[in-house]
Symmetry: none
Subunit: 217 residues, 4 copies
DNA sequence: CATGAATGAGGGTTCATTCAT
DNA sequence: AATGAATGAACCCTCATTCAT
């Protein structure tokens, strides 16, 4: 069944479902899972509490659905950058740029997302948060594949692509968080230059000299 | 009476104080702040609830004391590595090794600690969690100073020392977390080699050739 | 929809609101604010604790609402006596009679009410208990106005009407309390005679001879 | 054994006993029975909590002992006025003056005392508060006796002396409380004049003309 | 089907009292 | 005899969830 062929009723449901998640996101991002009540979500979304429970079995399920939706958006955005037809180096840079934009535009969501993935997640009791980790895993693999290609093309030195993926991921995250917390020392525009200097230069194949030199963004 | 010579009573107090934090740590690390009750902590530590409140004004204060204690331990350990008399490159490597050990030995604490610092903390309402961030800040500065010295000595390229600090910090964290989650792809012993290949080689001054070549750990 | 025509839902709410206050009154009057728990009130009124909190923000608010309701009842009753068309002397007597009836019928409330107003109230922290004192104030003013009229009409000697109001209020209260505690020495029926002999005779204008002589109740 | 012949130990005990009550009084008068903790009393009096329990079996017993001590002081003061050799009218006036002074000097205690006696006492669960009421009873009797003598001497009209006692007691209390709450309308000095005008004039025997006329205070 | 009033388990916290030192 | 650390019952209150309307 094509996506567009939902009945009116189903489309309406879908819309309400998303409205609930939108309202909940705002609250969770501001106050955290445990400091937001279902009553509060009902108030913000203008649905009855009972209606929330029609859509989600419980508070945890609502939260999980929310995190999954956001994680999908996030990984779709960076997935597109990574899977374009451009050269590997540019795709990595595009990936960083895409992530930058997500950080800029949804900073609260981002904090919530990283609270959920970096350390230990205590909000969703069941091991279901792994669903989010899986998506992260896939993105890492995609980054790794780009590096693999880059290595094959002689752009990058022959290092483990997955290691490189983990590296660019953590470095770019760190720089992006620094943009938030130390805007005097870090800026979004600077991040790519930084990565060039600190990361790409070091992993560039010595026979390939253009990395981080004459790119214009 | 010298400062270090606490009375028996005071020593006893200190011991109990730490016993409470030990028990609480185990619970918080396993279940998160909001999923642990004071009743539970009382049970685990075998103190009465009232006794907990003699030591800590409220649950939040207990949690905060715990996080500060652990953060102190953590930053003391890595601070010692960073402030030794060794050459800058070795000090950075020692810092990574020290952090490795903390991760190996206190994995639960580490997850709790990073849940508290990476994303958004919704556990401690008062802005006092900044106390933990400050300690992190200081450590970053110390790392930066080592890089500065390394640059002056011609070991590292002339890059912003603070940027380098942020880089090595995030890279090493990422690798360490990977050791936990993908022990097949990452091992503690491998981390230094990885950093050499991916990070140090890239930031090494081209006139200085020994980095990441013949170090034996 | 006229104001008086509440919806069925609103009327139901009103009824429950009063049921809670009724149950709470019984308990508070018997045991005092601090010796009654919300759990107890929930049990007596057969509402869930949470329901009590739907109606009243906290225990204090419940207590305050109760005291205000009772105080309104009380002052409405005596206010009607004081504002009738009858002659001043009769209105004062009617006021005493009205108060007598309240004492007879709601002795528990009365004790609670006077515990709250006579000495020091430590039950309601916010200065809102003044709301009750204000109502008392207004009643005193009304009594004073009746005396004023009586003085102008030459029924009472030219004394400060407010002083007279305070006097009749305290005297009648004292006699009424005595009826409770010494029914052998005081009776409700006797109170008016007593007041005639001890109070009204003394404040009667010497040119006006009928006070306290041939009244029949 | 004469009162003065207590052993040093016993006198010391007595002193401590009173010190505890002094500290407790200050706290209870300010905050009420239920808003003062034993811990607080221990702090204020600089005794250990255990010591408080050596002197008083429990918090209630401490409170009761306190109220009885204060009530004794109070009734001793007014008893002395009532039992002097002066003429009945003067003794009643002296009694009012004595009460005035107590009000002026110990207003907090007074409020606490009246909270305990006027309405319902919810602080002392056992019916033991009657001990305080008994003392009040005795004072009322003494006032009654003075009136009786006054009636026999032809100073007061032939009314029930006990009724008169209750009357002067409640009137003077009311005026004294008004001094606290409406110092613009009532003053301690004025009270006797007021009582003369409103009370004594009315109960004076018509053959005895000096009441409330040429007294100088 | 949507609603939101009602529920009550369970949370954090206090404090009168005990008892080992 | 004096101490005050330790206790834990009981408090007030919140909020996820249910279900009659």
């Amino acid at each position: 069944m094509p996506l567009s062929k939902l009945t009116r009723r189903e489309r309406e449901k879908q819309r309400q479902h998303n409205e609930i998640l939108d309202g909940a996101l705002e609250l969770f991002a501001k106050k955290g899972f445990h400091n937001v009540s279902m009553h509060e979500i009902a108030g913000k979304t203008e649905f009855a509490i009972g209606t929330l429970y029609k859509f989600f079995n419980n508070k945890e399920a609502l939260y999980k659905a929310l995190m999954i939706r956001e994680s999908k958006k996030f990984h779709t955005a960076i997935g597109m950058a990574l899977e374009s037809k451009k050269d590997p180096y540019t795709r990595i840079r595009d990936y960083v740029k895409a992530k930058s934009e997500v950080f800029r535009d949804n900073i609260n969501v981002v904090r919530l997302y990283f609270a959920e993935t970096s350390g230990a997640s205590f909000n969703i009791k069941s091991g279901l948060e792994s669903e989010i980790k899986q998506r992260y895993e896939i993105s890492l693999q995609k980054i790794g594949n780009v590096f693999k290609e880059g290595i094959q093309k002689g752009i990058f030195r022959d290092l483990d692509p997955f290691h490189l993926a983990v590296s660019i991921d953590s470095l770019s995250n760190a720089f992006l968080f620094m943009c938030l917390e130390k805007p005097d020392k870090f800026s979004y525009d600077m991040n790519l230059v930084l990565l060039d200097e600190i990361f790409f230069k070091g992993i560039a194949d010595s026979n390939f000299h253009s990395l981080g030199k004459d790119h214009n963004d």
